[in-house]
C-alpha cells in the first residue's frame, strides 16, 4: 500500500491487525447487503414480474425516455438561462456604479437564501394568475432553477473575475483599454477558464434540482419513473426507483468527471493567470497537505 498520511506503511503486526479489520469490515458490509437482500426478499421485491417491465423496450420508449427528455429539457433551458442570469448579475455586482452594484447584490443574495421549492411553488401559482390559465409547470421550474442557480453562478462569475491577478487589469488599463475592453479582452477570457469547473459543478446541482419538478407534476424522469411506471406496472416501485436512480447517478457522475477534468486542465493551463476557483459550497483543496486523491 502506498503511504497515506494517517497511517504508516504497516509492519508485520499492523498488517495482521489490518487484515483482521478488513475481514471484520467485509463481514459488516456483507451483513448490510444481506439485510437489504432479506428485506427485499421478504416483501417479494426480487420477483421477476416487477422487474420485467424494465427489460421491455416499450417501457423505455413510452416512459423512461420521454421522462429523461423532460428532465434534460428543463435542465438545458435552466442551464442556459442561469448562465445568462449569472453573467449579468455577477458582472453587475462588479460594476463601478453603486446603483447597479447594490441592486444586483441584493437580488443575488435574496434568491440564494430562499428555498428553491418555495420559489417554484410560488411561481407555479403566480404564473396562471398573471398569464391566464394553462400549463406553467415547465416555466415555473425553469424560472425557479434560473433564479436560484443563476444567483449562485453570479457569485462564481464574480469570484472568477476577482481571481485574475490585479496586474492584469492594471496592465490592460496602462495600454489604454477602457473598462469594457479590460473586462472583455483581458479579464473575462482568463476568468472563464478559472470558473469553468465551478460552473460545471453547479450544473450538476441544477440537473439534480430538476427533480423538484416531480412535486409540481412536471413530466420529468422522476415523475414518469416514480409516479407513472409504478401506477402502470403494479408493484414495480422499488425497481423503478433503482433504475431511474442509476440514470440520475450516471448523468451526474459524467458531469462531475467533466468538472474534475476541467479543473485539472485549468490548473495547468497557461492561458490564464487565475487559479481555478472552488465550486460553491466546497472548500478548495489546499496544496498544503494531506491525503492522496482516492481512486474511487
Amino acid at each position: 500500500m502506498s503511504s497515506s498520511v494517517l497511517f504508516d506503511v504497516p509492519g508485520p503486526r499492523a498488517r495482521l491487525r489490518n487484515h483482521g479489520l478488513t475481514v471484520i469490515a467485509a463481514a459488516a458490509v456483507l451483513a448490510v447487503l444481506y439485510f437489504v437482500y432479506r428485506g427485499f426478499d421478504d416483501k417479494g421485491q426480487w420477483e421477476g414480474k416487477i422487474w420485467r417491465p424494465f427489460i421491455e423496450a416499450s417501457t423505455w420508449t413510452d416512459y423512461i425516455i420521454p421522462g429523461l427528455l423532460g428532465t434534460l429539457k428543463a435542465a438545458g433551458l435552466g442551464a442556459v438561462c442561469a448562465l445568462v442570469f449569472g453573467a449579468v448579475f455577477g458582472l453587475g455586482r462588479l460594476s463601478d456604479h453603486r446603483w447597479i452594484r447594490v441592486p444586483a447584490g441584493a437580488v443575488v443574495e435574496t434568491f440564494r437564501a430562499i428555498p428553491l421549492l418555495l420559489l417554484i411553488f410560488f411561481l407555479a401559482y403566480l404564473a396562471p394568475s398573471v398569464l391566464g390559465s394553462g400549463d406553467y409547470t415547465l416555466i415555473a421550474l425553469v424560472t425557479g432553477l434560473t433564479l436560484y442557480n443563476g444567483s449562485v453562478l453570479a457569485e462564481v462569475v464574480r469570484a472568477g473575475v476577482l481571481a485574475v491577478p490585479r496586474g492584469q487589469s492594471e496592465a490592460a488599463y496602462a495600454i489604454g483599454l477602457r473598462k469594457g475592453g479590460v473586462m472583455r479582452l483581458v479579464l473575462l477570457p482568463q476568468a472563464v477558464t478559472a470558473m469553468m469547473p465551478a460552473i460545471v459543478s453547479q450544473l450538476v446541482v441544477l440537473l439534480k434540482d430538476t427533480a423538484l419538478g416531480y412535486i409540481i407534476a412536471y413530466e420529468d424522469l422522476l415523475n414518469y419513473g416514480f409516479k407513472i411506471i409504478p401506477a402502470v406496472f403494479f408493484g414495480s416501485l422499488v425497481p423503478a426507483a433503482i433504475v431511474i436512480g442509476i440514470i440520475y447517478i450516471g448523468l451526474n457522475m459524467t458531469l462531475s468527471t467533466l468538472a474534475n477534468w476541467l479543473e485539472k486542465r485549468s490548473r495547468r493551463s497557461r492561458k490564464t493567470s487565475a487559479r481555478p476557483i472552488a465550486p460553491p459550497g466546497v472548500i478548495g483543496l489546499s496544496a498544503g497537505a494531506g491525503l492522496p486523491e482516492e481512486t474511487a
Binding site: 497511517f7 411553488f121 401559482y125 427533480a211 416531480y214 426507483a241 483543496l285 482516492e294
Partner: protein
C-alpha cells in the same frame, strides 16, 4: 396582507416543523458524515470502498428521489416504520432521508478539511506512537473541523432549505406545503411568500454570519 395575518398561525406551525427537521437532521448528518469520512481515510480498503460508494451514490441522487423513496419505497413497500402514528413516522422518514443525503456533503467538506492539515501534524502523531484512530480523533479531525466551519455552515444552510422538499416524502406538515395549501384556498398571495421567505432568511443568514465569525475565531493559527 390580510391573507398573511389570517394564515400566520398555520404557517408558523409549519415553519416550526422545518426548524425541528433541521435540528434533528443537523445532528444526525454531522455524526454520520464524520463516520463516513473516517471510513474514507481508514487503512482498511473495504471500508474506504464502502464509504466512497455510499457518497457517490447518495450525493448524485436527487434529494426528491431520496425522500420519495424513503417514504414510498422504504416505508410503504419494504415495511420500515418508526412509529404507528403516521405524522411521527413521516417526520422520522424525512429525517432519515435528509440526514443520509446531507451526511455525504458533510463528509466531503470534512475530507477537504483533512487535506488542509499539514503533513507534519500527521507525521508527528505517528512518531509519538498514536494509532490511526487516535491520530484521527486527537490530531486530524479537530483541525479538519476548524478548517471547514464555513463550508459546513453552507451545508447546513442548504439542508435547512432542503427541509421544504419533505413534501416529496408525503410529509405535509412543513411550511412549503402549507403555503401551497393556502394558495389553493386563496389564490397566490405575495405577502405570504415574502413572509415565509423572510422567515427562512432569518434562520439561514445568522448561520452564515455565525459560522463566518466562528471560522475566523477558531482558525488554526499556522
Amino acid at each position: 396582507m390580510d391573507d398573511l395575518i389570517k394564515y400566520a398561525p398555520d404557517l408558523a406551525a409549519g415553519f416550526l416543523v422545518n426548524v425541528e427537521l433541521s435540528l434533528v437532521s443537523a445532528v444526525l448528518s454531522l455524526i454520520l458524515g464524520t463516520i463516513l469520512v473516517s471510513m474514507r481515510v481508514s487503512p482498511t480498503p473495504v471500508l474506504r470502498a464502502a464509504g466512497t460508494t455510499y457518497v457517490n451514490v447518495v450525493r448524485n441522487t436527487p434529494l426528491t428521489l431520496v425522500l420519495a423513496f424513503s417514504a414510498l419505497g422504504l416505508s410503504d413497500t419494504l415495511g420500515l416504520t418508526f412509529s404507528d402514528e403516521p405524522s411521527t413516522n413521516g417526520f422520522w422518514l424525512v429525517v432519515l432521508g435528509l440526514s443520509a443525503y446531507t451526511a455525504t456533503f458533510v463528509g466531503e467538506a470534512l475530507r477537504a478539511g483533512i487535506n488542509t492539515v499539514p503533513l507534519g501534524q500527521a507525521e508527528a502523531a505517528r512518531a509519538i506512537g498514536l494509532t490511526f484512530l487516535q491520530s484521527l480523533r486527537l490530531i486530524i479531525l479537530p483541525q479538519a473541523f476548524r478548517a471547514v466551519i464555513r463550508p459546513l455552515g453552507s451545508v447546513m444552510i442548504a439542508m435547512i432549505k432542503n427541509t421544504t422538499v419533505a413534501v416529496a416524502a408525503g410529509y405535509l406538515a412543513e411550511s412549503a406545503f402549507i403555503m401551497k395549501d393556502t394558495f389553493d384556498d386563496t389564490g397566490v398571495s405575495i405577502p405570504i411568500f415574502i413572509g415565509l421567505a423572510l422567515a427562512f432568511m432569518a434562520v439561514t443568514l445568522p448561520i452564515g454570519f455565525l459560522t463566518g465569525w466562528l471560522a475566523r475565531r477558531l482558525a488554526v493559527a499556522r
